[in-house]
Symmetry: C2
């Protein structure tokens, strides 16, 4: 299998961590892809019109996206019910938590594009503020839940939360999440004990 | 159960169609929610920090999001394997198709915000063009697949495609998708034979 990859993509990082934790990483070859809004990438658009990272290309040529569906696919390949509980209320809790964190990452990416990629004279502060606020208050949701999260076996919500916090460090280094959310800081440190989380840290910004 | 709803939201429409087709609509009460980027909605942000439609609130107070996870939840409630195949290659095909179409809707929404919501002097044409292109080429992916899609029992990818096309009519009435994609036009007409699809059409723009 081949996975489109960039060390800067928090969505690709999530899949990478999942693949390592599921014992499948040796079956996956990374291929680099660079995407940016407003810039064409015709070769990659042929693979996915959404021009987003990551996609998984199976050996028979089938393409799987998005990052969440890829994790579901890998989880099934590893036997099922590993990173996403197969049934019960916890299944829906973890799926919902993952959606929240995925949405937080989407919002952070929109902030980043607004502040760094869009031409300077065309930036709209209310847009950045709104989207940052979504990510920030999504983080706040997890602050009182950290003990419960850490008591569970590793799951896709924990991986996604580590990716949100790593992305905050990478692209919003001054946002002060550690001070605002000391439990998330403790969670992040705990997650960094996993080689999968450490090896996949984004590069220095 | 309660579902946050707006007749203008293609994501809420997808859940509504799914709930009707699964025979669960009578168990769901809609509550209105209005969200727009750059505008606060503190009450709704308490329910979901992402400030997006829809969310499903269960009778015990648990919240489920996003629209795809809600459909998965309803599908399970209806016995499982109805709108999303429970296993096999078609499961991953349909999930991937749904992700593509979900991404197309996200891209269309970003276009709409750029062209209609953002202050006029702050609009970036390359951003609109790029995101419209993603949606447009995502539609193109389905043009040669329509016969195969129509031959399958109803699934979440078909519902999502109907929502993409309905949203194109609603917000991009002049885009000319029917002329560019005659098979999609035929698909859309076929889908409109379902009361669930007709009753949920967006209001006149």
């Amino acid at each position: 299998m081949k996975l489109s990859f960039s060390p800067a993509s928090p969505f690709a990082r999530k899949v990478r961590i999942a693949a390592i934790e599921l014992g499948l990483i040796d079956q996956i070859e990374f291929f680099p892809a660079a995407v940016a809004p407003g810039q064409a990438n015709d070769e990659y658009s042929q693979i996915t019109p959404l021009k987003k990272l990551p996609v998984l290309i199976l050996d028979n040529g089938d393409v799987i996206l998005d990052s969440y569906v890829i994790v579901e696919y890998l989880d099934e390949l590893a036997g099922g019910g590993k990173l996403i509980p197969a049934s019960g209320p916890l299944r829906w809790k973890i799926k919902t938590d993952h959606s929240l964190l995925q949405g937080a990452l989407d919002a952070m990416l929109l902030c980043r594009y607004e502040k760094m990629v869009r031409p300077e004279g065309l930036r709209w502060q209310a847009w950045s503020d709104d989207h940052w606020n979504r990510a920030w208050t999504a983080m706040a949701r997890f602050e009182p839940q950290i003990d419960a999260m850490l008591a569970r076996p590793l799951d896709i919500a924990q991986i996604a939360l580590a990716c949100v916090l790593g992305y905050a460090d990478f692209r919003f280094a001054d946002c002060g999440w550690r001070k605002a959310y000391p439990n998330l800081d403790r969670f992040h440190q705990k997650m960094l004990e996993r080689p999968s989380v450490t090896i996949s840290l984004p590069p220095a910004a």
